[in-house]
Assembly symmetry: C2
Homo-oligomer: 183 residues x 2
């Protein structure tokens, strides 16, 4: 034993919905005692940092029910069953913004909230957009906007942007610009 790992003793399915698949498991802790762990299994998701010809970042304005509010996010969505993340990223980009792209680069994969969920987010970058027509899911309503990087930085600073992956995206763009400036 490494002194850190927990071992599953039993698992109980609590709920299986369209997104959330909830389990409560009994586990054996490293010290031999028992505890419970609540786990939200999630299919995983993709997000795309998409920069248009004018160098602006595409954001979607979308009502998010859990927050009861409209929030700015980079285009994103969850993986369909059996779907490859690369295909999912192209699909979500096109559905939400109407854009296809010539090149799509995977830049990161990280867990959104590893304390209670296995949601893994794959993040992509593209600056080779080909504009087209938005075609949303039946229960999806959103507006696309193109934001200058300096404005996006301000929007993070004054909390108009407050979505984790979008804050990450703005940082990524800042670092990329710094690197281009000093190379």
């Amino acid at each position: 034993m490494d002194g850190l790992t927990e071992k599953k003793k039993s698992s109980k399915e609590i709920f299986k919905g369209r997104i959330v698949h909830l389990f409560v498991d009994n586990v054996l802790l490293p010290n031999g005692q028992e505890s419970t762990r609540e786990v939200v299994k999630h299919p995983g998701a993709v997000a795309v940092i998409a920069v248009n010809k004018e160098g602006k970042l595409l954001l979607v304005r979308q009502y998010r029910y859990p927050l009861d509010g409209i929030i700015y996010e980079i285009p994103a969505g969850k993986l369909e069953p059996g779907e490859n993340p690369d295909d999912s990223a192209l699909r979500e980009l096109e559905e939400e913004t109407g854009c296809q792209c010539e090149r799509l680069e995977k830049i990161a994969s990280f867990y959104s909230s590893p304390g209670f969920s296995d949601e893994l987010l794959h993040v992509y970058f593209t600056d080779s957009l080909i504009e087209g027509k938005q075609h949303l899911d039946q229960d999806e309503f959103l507006e696309v906007c193109a934001i200058d990087l300096n404005e996006a930085i301000k929007m993070v600073e004054d909390h108009r942007i407050y979505d984790a992956k979008t804050v990450y995206a703005v940082q990524y763009m800042q670092l990329r610009e710094n690197q281009n400036k000093h190379n």
Copy 2:
């Protein structure tokens, strides 16, 4: 109506655990149709970007049950009932790393995964640590390490760091260093 907002019609509590509080709601969509939304209510969380006297970033190595793996994260934890995020950050920093600090600056708040959860993460920065003794929760097992920024950047690049808030923290430190260099 703004053409984006959804309206709650009814709400059903599915599960109330130690962390996860799950509801399935019926909602009215902007187009007048109905749909369901799965919502994981979460108490919110804090995380601390803590830099020691040698300029190294404190990370904790911790087994995360939802991923069945050991992961590097910045010190973090969820809010206790009624707890102020500032107090929670000081508490989690001290519990997990043994460190107190002279100054703690709040640098960001963002939603971890707004598609299905209202978890709001408050992120702090400190470089004024006062070292002490770790004192963990009964069911918490973790190791603290101090990582040089260049090494942390490499760990993000080769996916040894794959936790959202920790990837954010490494980018934050990079941007901070760039700014110090060019000021």
